[in-house]
Symmetry: C2
Subunit: 582 residues, 2 copies
């Protein structure tokens, strides 16, 4: 029909069901090209969204959104849905500050009924929404759209287990491409394989799902719009009597090798000292490989994401000591704890916000037993364009409250290496937090790491001391120091490389009247709050100003701009210090 861009521009959600097959195909191609265009320019999830195009068009053909509700698990496959639900015009603002989010957001559209970002929540959420529907006497469908990678996650299992308790009806679309971020592995993977086969084993898989109270339909071709529409019609019919699992098989997107994060970000890091930048993950991988050469007890555990955590080489070199358990953050924690209690030296690498999933296990299994587990916490601090669910701004707070846990933040990738070397001989739980991108070397003597000891990056016997953690905040502090120096003003700058324990000795020796703390974390429970608590308890009378993030969820945007907006504004800090020292 050659409608070209006309379709997405003019199409109302309700019009989609009236398109003929060839228009639907054209629409799919248009969606695909808009996504490729937008993501290759501005970043975002590509493969997962490309795989979801036809099934999403089919969903609009069969269901009536927003009256019907859909929950996208993780949410990294919602771009086609956004394009079809009135967000085409804003789509060029995807993941940009004040633009539309890369994940479903209730605040953004009535078509988004539930916010996601982390894996495994969709089935529970759909059950809750469906139950609310039943109790309120409403009449609409509820759909959970879940990738196979999430099917390893315990929460999915808990949700399936509760289906018969909740006695409500939902449609689960299992989008199976045989890949989560890392290849999908384990028992459920085998069951999905069985379901994909046309053997006797398929029947067994189906019976398993039935024992959870689900009717099974599949495997259907998720990249065939017509087949998908028919399958969804069929599923809708089945929904009259039972919950349904529609198993669809999709092809991974066109295989773009593409950075997950906004490429501009990787160039926005302020540079001090040596200018060359490096990802912390590279240093992690290299250093662990080196350490593992001589230390046979070192093991690496992760919950998917091994590539972006920098662990590919370790998995190649030491496959017998490298464990990727899929999106199972709790299991990864307990495995680490147990290996630690049994004489190994486990390193558990994970993104800051995903570690929240094993909070209880960090307390109950790792720290209570004082197991020598090292957490390598990537994407700590504001991570930027992924928004609320991915901002690693809570870890200092939720970790520092746990007994037996030591927490540190390197000032650069060199110091990160030092911390990893330190960790190898540290027989207790240790958490090292770091952002994605880093400097190779900060200007400092880079003194050897000593437990709980901070270092001065600048000591001028000033009347104001800045205490900051991690590369970003220390860079900020040193840039301010530099600017002020040019005005004849001098500050002291401390690298609070250990957040817990605080360096109480150094703290108690601070002579300056003013203290400024800066951190890449919320204020509550973080470095500044810990320092305030220590100063107060010890009756110290400094005048303290804490720069940390406000008590709010931080949306997507660039790191710098979000820091500025949410409480760690360099100019403001500089003005305050100038005011004080003038």
């Amino acid at each position: 029909m050659g409608l070209g861009k006309m379709l997405l521009e003019k199409l109302q959600p309700a019009d989609i069901r009236r398109l003929n097959e060839s228009d639907k195909c054209a629409l799919c191609e248009e969606i695909r090209s808009v996504i490729i265009d937008t993501v290759t320019k501005g970043g975002g999830h590509l493969a997962s969204n490309l795989g979801a195009v036809e099934s999403t068009v089919a969903l609009f053909s069969v269901f009536d959104f927003p009256k019907d509700k859909i929950v996208f698990d993780v949410g990294h496959q919602c771009y086609p849905y956004k394009l079809l639900s009135g967000r085409y015009e804003k789509f060029n603002t995807l993941r940009k500050e004040n633009g539309i989010s890369g994940f479903p957001k209730r605040s953004e559209s009535a078509f988004d009924c539930y916010d996601t970002g982390h894996a495994g929540t969709a089935i529970s959420a759909a059950l809750g929404i469906a139950k609310a529907r039943d109790l309120k006497g409403e009449n609409h469908q509820v759909i959970a759209y879940v990738g196979d990678g999430s099917f390893n996650n315990g929460l999915v299992y808990e949700a399936l287990t509760s289906m018969q308790i909740l006695k409500t009806k939902i449609l689960i679309i299992l989008n199976d491409n045989g890949m989560s971020i890392s290849p999908t592995v384990g028992g459920m993977h085998d069951i999905l394989n069985d379901l994909r086969s046309e053997t006797e084993k398929k029947a067994e898989g189906i019976k398993l799902l039935e024992s959870f109270g689900l009717s099974y339909l599949g495997v259907k071709d998720g990249n065939n719009c017509k087949e998908m529409t028919q399958s969804l019609e069929q599923a809708k019919k089945l929904l009259e009597t039972n919950s349904v699992l529609l198993h669809i098989h999709t092809k991974k997107g066109k295989g773009y090798e593409f950075s997950e994060d906004e490429p501009t970000l990787t160039h926005g890091v302020p540079s001090m000292g040596a200018k060359k930048e490096r990802e912390y993950s590279e240093v992690l991988g290299e250093t662990l490989c080196q350490l593992a050469k001589t230390d046979k007890s070192i093991a690496v555990v992760c919950a998917a994401m091994l590539d972006s955590l920098g662990l590919k080489q370790f998995f190649t070199d030491y496959p017998e000591r490298a464990f990727d358990v899929g999106i199972c953050e709790e299991n990864a924690s307990v495995l680490s704890a147990a290996m630690g209690t049994a004489g190994l030296k486990p390193y558990y690498a994970i993104y800051s916000t995903f570690l929240q999933r094993s909070f209880d296990e960090i307390i109950h299994d790792i720290c209570q037993q004082d197991a020598p587990v090292t957490f390598c916490i990537d994407r700590a601090g504001i991570s930027g364009p992924d928004g609320e669910t991915h901002q690693g701004v809570f870890d200092l707070s939720y970790l520092s409250l746990i007994p037996n846990l030591t927490i540190c933040a390197p000032k650069d990738t060199e110091e990160f290496k030092e911390f990893l070397n330190f960790s190898a001989n540290y027989p207790h739980p240790l958490a090292i937090r770091y952002p994605r991108n880093g400097l190779i070397k900060f200007n400092s003597e880079n003194k050897k790491i000593e437990l709980g000891k901070w270092e001065y990056l600048q000591n001028e016997n000033s009347n104001l001391t800045v205490i900051a953690e991690g590369e970003r905040c220390l860079t900020m502090a040193m840039e301010i120091a530099e600017t002020l120096k040019n005005k004849g003003l001098f500050i002291d700058v401390i690298n609070a490389r250990f957040i817990k324990p605080l360096d109480e000795e150094m703290l108690s020796l601070i002579k300056s009247d003013y203290i400024v703390t800066i951190e890449d974390n919320v204020f509550l429970g973080g470095l500044g709050a810990m320092i305030d608590g220590w100063l107060t308890s010890n009756n110290k009378r400094h005048i303290v100003k804490n720069y940390a993030y406000e008590d709010k969820f931080i949306p997507h945007g660039s790191v710098k701009s979000l820091q500025n907006r949410f409480g760690v504004n360099k100019d403001e800090i500089e003005s305050y210090i100038t005011e004080v020292l003038k």
Copy 2:
């Protein structure tokens, strides 16, 4: 043979395998009688331990502890194991301060290889220990002993899913009595039922387990020592080639209706004002039933434990709005979030330390979406004889760091009721924390709850203000106030009924030079730390003393004594205040 008590007194673990069947039976009876005797006197878990007697004797007959390792899931069935591994003589100190723990403790015995307390960790832990064994070239067996109640838990599923990744061999003993704390429900329950049947369905259940890489053996009579010994021998043989799940069926203990906690505790609460005591859980159940009469949107969600949470009546009166999803704390959180976003008013009742399991979901699903979920957090603060894993001393810290979440603690059960009434019209996430036992009414005007507003319980324009949260700490403060009054000294006492937000107005108006904070929580991230942070940020120059728990895991003991030992010592507080005011 009439060996009587001789057996347990003199038996070495290695001797057990040499006993004949009738001596083993005698031993089982002896163990059973010691457990009944000890638990009925001093409290503890009865039914689960009585069910585990024969299988534990059989374990010692077949395996070689402590060379072989066993992880008890939850750990509430380890008493027979403790009795047989050298702790008979100390068994009368069970759950008593400085006595032996009611849960496995590595610090207590070489026979305990892994600490537990929360559900679902054992299979992960056993896998980690077994993998460490393999890598270290050791040769011993690793066993996970798991109740069927835990089999609903997502962590168990994550562990099963990772069996083929870890490529190691463990024995899982599934102790199936068809009951967790609340009756076991859901999909896995059906599968276990199938396995117990001798139908075609049994074969399907077996195939399911095999797809996770397990050889299945069962169902065996777990209360028959001879059958258990034979089954374990058989399992040991199978372990040469594969991991094994040995499914045993046991009878619930002799059905003692017995309080889970040390009965002395329920009499140790200091009384102020009206003397009569009441459990908070009763008030929860009653009030929710009342509220639900007129508010059709109210729903109740819990993750097992509905009885001890006080919800039995609600489940009877409103079965269509009451959901017990079994030991699935994450699922319960997401269900609550979803119901909240979809127009219901969910109440999620749970013990403080179990809520740690849904930390990520509290952030990601409930608070980020600002869903109107009310957490009813029972057993907050030190809970006493259950020890480290059950001390609810972290919730103020891990909750206060989360944006959008309001946190409060009632001063008595009356105020708890007020808070529940308040919650009914509060359209945001709200956490109410409370201990098990409570007073009916404190001496105060019991002003109507207003968001973020504290109240004075005593206002004497003193130079010292005590700010305390919750009944226990306020009771302590008021008792101190009383004592001091008799000495002619006066203090002000504030009920910090909201921990978040702090009552900044009241804080800023405090004229006294001295402030004392008291809380039933660790210091880091808690009420005192929040107040310190606020005072520091606002340049307030009070002299502050914070009484809260030290940064340590708190073992089992009596509430009072543990408070004294770990940082909230009434005498010390009184001395300090006296010193200041004199």
